[in-house]
């Protein structure tokens, strides 16, 4: 479903701020894979997701989504294949617009936007049913402006928007990091539910090792722009936070340096 071949990206090349963010990433995701991504600060986790989403052009390599090389496609064209949820709850929704208007925009991802009315009656009913799944009572506030919602509600809505038109690939970039633990757990369970129900292929960056172990069928660990660990299936189920930290220092020869990950 997703194939990364030797993807490289250096920020600010040739300056004192030069940062080799991705140093030849190779990764293949099968349909239905739900991969959690962990790693220290500046390991390249978010950078990898942004490279796939097309936020900026990569220096080298291939990004193939469902057989299509998307390297030359701009961000808005890749959106046809990719659903995204960001770390910042403010980033995934349009605050001055209504909940149903946001959903209607998401319902047209990858389609031509015409001069037809932006939302149909039938869609309103569909959205009502879909919002019920979230269990946040948003189905009764469909004409409320999204700016009035809490961070957790906005993330849940963004998730729904990202999966409304079934994406080939779902990218979750620390999407629970800005939420309180209770809300984060709720959003994560919604994530699991939506991925399972739609049989989605997903990449989820998280700083929480427990979450990384508990969710998904595969776990990758990154360090200094490379994937240093790739565990799946039964082997992944047996992982513990301690064993992960040990594996990290074995493969990288360093101490694990993400305080947020260790504190959780």
């Amino acid at each position: 479903m997703l194939k990364l071949n030797n993807v490289k990206k250096t920020f600010n090349p040739g300056t004192i701020n030069e940062k080799k963010a991705l140093c030849g990433i190779d990764l293949q995701l099968n349909p239905g894979d739900f991969v959690t991504v962990i790693g220290g600060n500046g390991a390249g986790k978010s950078t990898m997701l942004n490279a796939i989403a097309g936020v900026w052009p990569i220096d080298k390599g291939e990004i193939i989504i469902d057989g299509i090389n998307v390297v030359k496609l701009p961000e808005h064209k890749r959106a046809k294949y990719v659903g995204r949820v960001f770390q910042d709850p403010m980033m995934g929704t349009s605050a001055p617009m209504e909940i149903q208007e946001n959903l209607a925009i998401a319902a047209r991802r990858g389609q031509r936007r015409t001069l037809r009315w932006s939302i149909t009656k039938k869609e309103k009913q569909e959205f009502h049913e879909l919002l019920k799944i979230l269990g946040l009572g948003l189905e009764d506030r469909m004409t409320a402006k999204v700016g009035l919602l809490s961070g957790g509600q906005r993330q849940a809505l963004t998730l729904l928007m990202a999966t409304l038109k079934k994406p080939k690939l779902l990218l979750l970039d620390e999407h629970t990091a800005a939420l309180d633990p209770k809300t984060a757990a709720k959003v994560l369970s919604i994530t699991d539910k939506l991925i399972a129900e739609n049989n989605l292929t997903a990449l989820m960056v998280t700083h929480n090792m427990k979450d990384a172990i508990a969710h998904g069928n595969r776990l990758i660990m990154m360090n200094e722009g490379k994937i240093i660990l790739d565990v799946r299936g039964e082997e992944k189920q047996k992982l513990t936070v301690e064993s992960l930290i040990q594996k990290f220092s074995e493969t990288s020869g360093k101490e694990f340096s993400n305080d947020r990950a260790l504190l959780n």
């Binding site: 808005h76 990719v82 001055p96 925009i105 047209r108 990858g110």
Partner: protein, 319 residues
């Protein structure tokens, strides 16, 4: 007393001018409020609309054709700003200023065509000689025509911004990241918004030339400030009414324009040197723009709520 009667007699004219500038301010509203771009092109576009309309009518074209061409000329100006901004990466404000400068030359040349000169800074368009749509000499007819134009314009914009495409423009202004992630080409959306906005501004310019009986190279000076003033006054006075309805928001911009010109007439009646008016408008707009910033900087939201609670405590109504 006689002065006061004159003042009262000048009010319908102030209303007419206010509506014309209010229509122009709707163009400003589209870029400033919906797309979150400060577009300074409008200072030039309003004169472009006036110049194109006056020139075409002087050359013998009919008024509707002339106004349509003015609208298209404005759209082209908006397109140029859009290309400067999106394809060439120039900040929106600077892109607008560049187009404004381009238009200065274009406007002089266009008006020159009508007079068979290499350039002209002024072109008469009196309703005595031309079949104009609006005119300060026929105020009653003008007010009716402007009312109809306002209703049609607001209706069309209400429809457009309610469509799939219109919604993508609104989301572009609200959140670029979200819009791109949902597959919206935000650069195209910005250009379309600038084109639409400047088309409307040029249309208002064409109306203004007919109303005042001439097109003048200086007529757009400070237009952006008047436009912003209309938007801000409208929002400040009628925002509470128009919060949930887009067409009412647009209508409040028109009322903002009307109030601006009524205040304008009033301060002149009170004896203020009219040379100060632009300075006053700029200061008023600056203060209104500063209010939300000050609010955010000096009163955090929490404090604000605490204070309100406190007030209620004192009044003893609610604890």
């Amino acid at each position: 007393m006689e002065q006061f009667v004159n003042y009262l007699a000048s009010l319908p004219s102030a209303v007419a001018q206010g509506v014309i500038w209010g229509i122009m301010a709707i163009g400003v509203f589209i870029t400033y409020k919906i797309l979150d771009l400060a577009d300074l092109t409008v200072d030039g576009t309003i004169c472009t609309g006036a110049a194109v309309c006056a020139t075409m009518m002087t050359l013998g074209f009919s008024m509707p054709v002339a106004m349509l061409c003015a609208f298209v000329a404005g759209m082209l100006a908006g397109f140029l700003t859009g290309v400067f901004h999106t394809s060439m990466g120039i900040p929106a404000i600077l892109a607008g200023i560049l187009t404004q400068l381009v238009l200065w030359s274009v406007n002089l040349k266009v008006m020159g065509i009508a007079l068979d000169k290499t350039s002209a800074a002024n072109l008469p368009l009196s309703s005595r000689n031309f079949d104009t749509l609006v005119s300060m000499l026929e105020l009653e007819k003008t007010l009716v025509v402007l009312l109809i134009i306002t209703i049609v314009l607001i209706g069309v914009l209400y429809w457009f911004f309610g469509t799939e495409y219109g919604c993508s423009l609104r989301s572009t202004g609200a959140n670029l990241n979200m819009s791109r992630a949902q597959g919206i080409n935000t650069n195209v959306a910005k250009v379309v918004g600038l084109v639409l906005s400047n088309g409307i501004v040029a249309f208002a310019g064409a109306l203004l030339a007919q109303y005042q009986g001439n097109a003048d190279i200086n007529m757009g000076k400070g237009a952006i400030v008047i436009g912003l003033a209309a938007v801000i006054i409208g929002e400040a006075l009628f925002g509470w009414l128009a919060r949930h309805n887009f067409s009412l928001k647009l209508l409040s911009v028109i009322f903002g324009g009307i109030i601006y010109f009524i205040v304008y007439s009033t301060v002149i009646y009170l004896g203020l040197d009219s040379n100060y008016l632009k300075m006053l408008s700029a200061i008023v707009v600056a203060i209104f723009l500063a209010v939300p910033y000050w609010k955010g900087k000096y009163f955090s939201g929490a404090e604000h709520i605490e204070k309100r609670k406190h007030k209620k405590d004192k009044s003893g109504k609610e604890v």
